[in-house]
């Protein structure tokens, strides 16, 4: 874990994923800005219905995603030491934490949809469902990417010398995590 390669490239992973990440972050940024501006004009409505959300679930989900990002870091550290088995295991562990996130979020959706809440209920719920669901889909995509990297790791595609794919997949996953770290306080906490 402490091995340092002085000539490490920047940014890590494939440049293409960074262009993709930038584009994805722009979509989220616009969504967040739209949320913020709309909230400004509907503070009471937003505060009232924010109460109906469950911050504990969201907190657990935050922990799940941060943990998964830590696992991805461990996976990268493992492959840098040519430890393919370790890398693969950490990647699957990260995927599993993604699964935990999906399960908790699904339970939250089940609760709200069970109460008859949908996109047309009011502006707050429109944003809540849209933002979190868009992010939900990204968690699924991120898990697919991590799983693909894990499978390729097992097939011996990566080594201490060449593991761009692990960095690429990891970069995307950290983006998914990072977006949640903004989404969580913005939608669940900030009053």
């Amino acid at each position: 874990m402490n091995s340092r390669q002085p000539d490490r490239r920047y940014p890590p992973g494939d440049l293409a994923i960074w262009i993709f990440i930038l584009a994805e972050l722009s979509v989220f940024a616009i969504f967040f800005a739209a949320y913020a501006f709309t909230r400004m004009n509907n503070v009471e409505l937003f505060n009232e219905f924010q109460q109906s959300l469950d911050p504990t679930s969201a907190m657990l989900n935050t922990i799940a995603l941060i943990t998964s990002s830590y696992f991805v870091v461990r996976a990268l550290a493992a492959i840098r030491e040519d430890n393919r088995e370790g890398c693969e295991s950490w990647l699957w562990a990260a995927c599993a934490m993604g699964g935990v996130f999906l399960a908790i979020k699904s339970a939250e959706y089940a609760h709200h949809f069970g109460m008859g809440i949908n996109l047309s209920t009011n502006t707050f719920y429109m944003f809540y469902i849209s933002l979190t669901f868009f992010h939900f889909m990204h968690v699924i995509l991120g898990m697919v990417i991590l799983a693909a990297v894990a499978v390729k790791t097992r097939q011996g595609a990566y080594s201490a010398d060449e593991h761009t794919g692990v960095e690429t997949g990891g970069s995307y996953w950290h983006m998914v995590d990072l977006v949640w770290l903004i989404l969580f306080p913005l939608v669940y906490v900030m009053r």
Binding site: D14, A16, I17, I19, F20, A23, E24, S26, V27, I30, F31, A34, L119, S120, M126, F127, S130
Partner: protein, 465 residues
């Protein structure tokens, strides 16, 4: 030409160019009808001429896409086409069905055509762009299925490249989404809702995959840049296209009676639709700058770069202009829409078809890689004539649209539609004149196929500069 069966593409390309001429002639007719309402009345009224203009465009682009697929799929899959005979047969069926449909539009009143073709059995007619009689629509499905079988089998049995797979996904999506043309609910909100699944999800969804894969193919061939690099770009571009384009359909759902959240979804996602087009521009110029060799077919490279630039401007920038719902509240259905429509269709889809024709046609006609210098120079003239014309048509229509929005909708003393139409007539005249220059560009384009054929191929030696 590496594979004999690629030659079927030639038929498709020739038909595409022929129908292109028809489209432009009808465009000039409706352009004039904007100014002289009874021009050619009652023989060809405006609604019929407009329908012919748009339908011809769609059909010739489809011919172009099919030709492109028949040309590039065997080369990518490294095997002959599954059935060249089927490809030829479908060509004639499609061409005859298309010709009969257009004749039906022109010779019979539309309601009569509906009666003749027993539209009441399965009503699908009467909706913009999907005006074709039901029997023609069924024909389109048959042709599409045979076509997909043909290239699908070629791809599955051959080398699987990203270019081929993206193209196949795009073409399959095109066929599947067309099925919504048969869904014609009585509820007008639902009708419009699913109508856009054909119209929007074609041009801002699956067609972009077709565009991306054809562009990638031509860039691989003309720049010699590693396939891996180009394929990576293609992946990122199509992912962004689908993320923004699918939910971006919402920018058509603002005023048709759908729930309010579409205002947000449509605005946010469609505002991002220029991103994949911008990536395409960066991608194309990057690849050409990094080229490993100079390809003798300079015209094809020019068309490829032109596509990447004009698609971004027409589809991306001009689309963004009126995509946000508070803006669209004023601009909906004005000449701003027409401005966007012209530059987007030309920049993205007309130009990509002309790109692949420019690349493939010399080879299909027996050249090694490129036409003679003389022919290419003429072709490049046509590129500039048509492209500059479309830029000006777009600018004139944009000016007309801004004026229209102000006079008719924004001003405190709003004027009626027809009064405003008179006030913006100057821009319609300018548009019509520019349209004539476009037609001249098209004639020059066709002429480029007939000149310099007895001269040697252009070479890449510096002396050729």
């Amino acid at each position: 030409m590496q594979y004999q069966s690629q030659s079927v593409a030639k038929l498709y390309f020739i038909a595409a160019i022929g129908l292109f001429v028809g489209q432009i002639l009808f465009g000039l007719i409706i352009g004039l009808q904007y100014l002289m309402g009874d021009f050619m009345f009652p023989e060809i009224p405006f609604n019929v001429a407009r329908m012919t203009h748009t339908n011809l465009l769609i059909v010739w682009l489809l011919f172009g896409f099919m030709g492109a697929a028949y040309y590039l799929v065997p080369e990518e899959a490294e095997r002959e086409l599954e059935s060249p005979l089927l490809a030829k047969l479908m060509f004639w069926i499609f061409l005859v069905a298309g010709a009969l449909t257009v004749l039906g539009y022109l010779l019979v009143p539309y309601s009569g055509l509906a009666q003749m073709t027993a539209n009441s059995l399965m009503p699908t007619m009467g909706r913009e762009f999907l005006e074709q009689p039901t029997i023609t629509k069924i024909g389109i499905v048959v042709v599409a299925l045979a076509f997909l079988y043909n290239i699908g089998m070629t791809i599955l049995k051959g080398r699987k490249t990203v270019v081929n797979l993206v193209l196949l996904i795009g073409l399959a999506g095109l066929a599947v989404l067309f099925l919504f043309a048969f869904y014609n609910p009585a509820n007008v909100v639902l009708d419009k809702f699913f109508w856009w699944w054909v119209v929007h999800l074609w041009v801002e969804g699956v067609w972009e995959l077709i565009l991306g894969s054809i562009l990638a193919f031509v860039l691989i061939k003309t720049t010699g840049v590693d396939r891996e690099v180009i394929e990576k770009w293609l992946y990122v571009i199509i992912a962004m296209t689908l993320i923004t384009g699918i939910i971006g359909t919402g920018h058509h759902y603002y005023w048709i009676g759908t729930p309010e959240y579409w205002q947000w979804w449509g605005s946010i996602f469609s505002a991002m639709e220029p991103i994949p087009f911008f990536m395409m521009t960066v991608f194309a110029f990057n690849m050409v700058n990094k080229r490993r060799r100079n390809h003798p077919n300079k015209a094809a490279v020019l068309w490829a770069l032109g596509t990447a630039t004009m698609a971004f401007l027409g589809a991306g920038v001009w689309g963004f202009l009126h995509t946000l719902s508070p803006v669209n509240f004023y601009t909906h259905g004005t000449q701003i829409t027409a401005a966007h429509g012209h530059m987007a269709f030309y920049g993205a889809y007309v130009m990509i078809v002309l790109t692949i024709i420019s690349y493939a046609m010399p080879i299909l006609r027996g050249r090694q890689a490129a036409n003679s210098n003389r022919s290419q120079v003429l072709e490049m003239w046509s590129f500039w004539l048509m492209t500059v014309s479309i830029v000006f048509i777009t600018l004139f229509l944009t000016a007309a649209g801004i004026l229209q929005v102000y006079l008719q909708r924004f001003s405190d003393t709003a004027m009626p539609f027809m009064v405003v139409q008179d006030k913006i007539a100057l821009f319609y005249w300018l548009r019509e004149l520019t349209g004539v220059i476009f037609l001249i560009g098209l004639v020059v384009y066709i002429a480029s196929f007939f000149v310099g054929n007895d001269e040697p191929e252009a070479s890449v030696e510096p002396t050729a500069e």
